[in-house]
Amino acid sequence: MEVSTVLQSLISGLTLGCIYAALGLGLFVVYGVTRVLNLAQGEFVMLGGMLTVSFCSMGVPLIGAILLAVFVTVLSGAFLYLFIIRPARGASGSTLAFLTVGFAFAIEGITLLVWGWEYRSLTNFLGSSSIHLWGATIFGQAPWVVGMTVLMVVGLFFFFGRTMVGKALRACADEPLGARSVGISIERMALLSFVMAAGLGAIAGATITPLTMTAYNVGIPLTIKGLLAAFLGGLHRAEGVILGGLLVGLAEALSAGLMPTGYHDAIALAILLAVFLARPRGLLPSRGAAE
């Protein structure tokens, strides 16, 4: 086996892993605070990508386009919580999950109506070009994707660990009743978690579009990969979700490089599923008295 093949697989695996970790983090934020399995997380990513492409093509500079895309996606996240999830307070987990499915379908349909079915792409950020390294290629956008995820992780850890609002969110996740009794508005925190998930999703969407392209129907496969990442690592810990994302990405890329062509997608997913079923509580042990 060529060294360059392995290196190439590792590089693309790391990049893919960062994408899935970003998705998993969005799922984690919502699930942690509200116990809603948000099956529309991939739609936020798709929406972020499509909106950035649109704003760019209107002549808005990239940074502005991303900010606008994040803004609109965040509005959609707020809509999801305020008008779909909140009215169903107290419903079972599956009802809440299916409500997000409904939202996902509607977003897909509206996207198809507005933008059509064509795949869209962006140019690499700041025109960064591919780097060649011992026979392997690092695509120009890949460092941006990795950097975006690292920033996201650092930002989230800072937010949850150091800021008052972040600590309030964690309180809601750990002990809703206790949080309420010290005066934290659970509803406001729930809204914040959806808004954050939408924002994280939109940023991820804008960043991965030059690499993966985007279209109205990329949301569901992204959600599934994000779910797998989150389940693998354990939905109860951010570190677990990041680890899970990297594992999913690496498994996918390594099997694409090493396994017979055609079979690799199925094999990678099946292996990951088997790992999850062997350790259904997640690879990382839960911290303290989690449910």
């Binding site: 399995l37 169903a88 299916f98 509607a106 349909g109 109506l113 569901i220 797998l228 055609g262 997913l269």
Partner: protein, 341 residues
């Protein structure tokens, strides 16, 4: 007292092994005369409704009775279709023989899958079944020697049929007869010992797995059983679909189909097998209408309006009619009573 009544009901169930609900007979009569008035287009839509309703009815047993969510029924629908097609194309079996074998194959596949995933609890099962469906989809594309890859299988033989009828009419009869059989079976399962056991496991319906377990029930056994029955229903529908269209492709059995079936079950009502029929009729009807009419009136690409409609219908039904359309008559009745008082 209770001992006597149990004995009585046991005797009764021994004598009347299969209870046939009266509305099922009405449905049978309607099905018998429908082809006389419907044109081929209407019949093809009705076939679609019937096939989806069979898959959905399996899911009603699984979700409504046993309280297990699945977003992976496409796997078993697809297994039925591919198994049936391959048995005919490769081994030259008669479609009539291939159909039960394909259904059994779906059921067999459901045993290990069910055993593996039903250990999990709660909403995670939904995510895992989605992933299983995705693995199945990738497999149908990549094992191309067997499945024909992305283009799928073609020239699947039709069901042998009396030439006095058009094929569409014949398939309509087959589909809806199978649906009525599924309906009668579902009603009987719900009223049987197994049905009661499943209700005891159903968290969504007020049961509890832990309580059932403590009372000495083999909970896993019953959950897997419900999963297998649902898979067999889906397998039968898949096999019928393959012999009806003669062409199958992986896309038909992907995640979207599984989610759509779940939407039908939710919209129709998860507590009654009739909900499957109502839900399938509503969603397929809506799809046909929006596919044929909306792009002409409003413009825009085909397929967009139905996606929006699925989402809106699902959300509205979960928020305002969580027990589905099937519960509507009871709700109206209750509302009237309250007004009278």
């Amino acid at each position: 007292m209770s001992v006597i009544s149990t004995t009585k009901s046991r005797v009764a169930s021994a004598y009347r092994l299969l209870r046939v609900p009266r509305p099922a007979l009405v449905l049978l009569a309607v099905v018998a005369v429908l082809p006389l008035v419907g044109n081929p287009y209407v019949l093809s839509v009705l076939i679609n409704i019937g096939l989806y309703a069979i898959v959905a009815m399996g899911l009603v047993l699984l979700t409504g009775l046993a309280g297990q969510v699945s977003l992976g029924q496409g796997v078993f629908y697809g297994t039925g279709a591919y198994a049936s097609a391959l048995l005919c194309l490769r081994l030259g079996l008669s479609p009539w023989l291939a159909m039960p074998i394909a259904a059994a194959a779906s059921g067999l596949l459901a045993v290990p899958i069910g055993r593996a995933i039903l250990r999990l609890r709660g909403i995670i099962v939904a995510g895992v079944t989605l992933t299983v469906n995705m693995v199945f989809y990738y497999l149908t594309i990549s094992v191309s020697d067997l499945t024909g890859g992305a283009t799928g299988l073609v020239q699947i033989p039709r069901l042998p049929y009396p030439k006095v009828l058009p094929y569409t009419t014949f398939v309509f009869y087959v589909t809806w007869l199978l649906l009525i059989v599924a309906l009668i079976l579902s009603c009987n399962i719900a009223a049987s010992r197994v049905g009661r056991a499943l209700k005891a496991v159903n968290l969504l319906g007020g049961g509890s797995e832990d309580t059932a377990q403590v009372l000495g029930m083999d909970v896993m056994h019953y959950k897997v059983l419900a999963f297998v029955v649902a898979a067999v229903f889906a397998g039968v529908a898949g096999s019928t679909y393959a012999h009806y269209t003669s062409v199958i492709e992986p896309h038909t059995f992907n995640v979207q189909t599984s989610v759509l079936v779940s939407i039908m079950v939710i919209v129709g009502g998860v507590t009654s097998p009739w909900g499957a029929i109502v839900g399938a009729a509503l969603i397929v009807g809506l799809t046909e209408f929006l596919r044929e009419v909306a792009p002409i009136i409003l413009g825009g690409p085909t397929g967009a309006y139905e996606l929006v409609a699925y989402g809106v219908v699902l959300v509205i039904s979960l928020l305002f009619l969580p027990a589905g359309l099937c519960s509507l008559p009871a709700r109206i009745e209750q509302w009237r009573k309250e007004r009278r008082i």
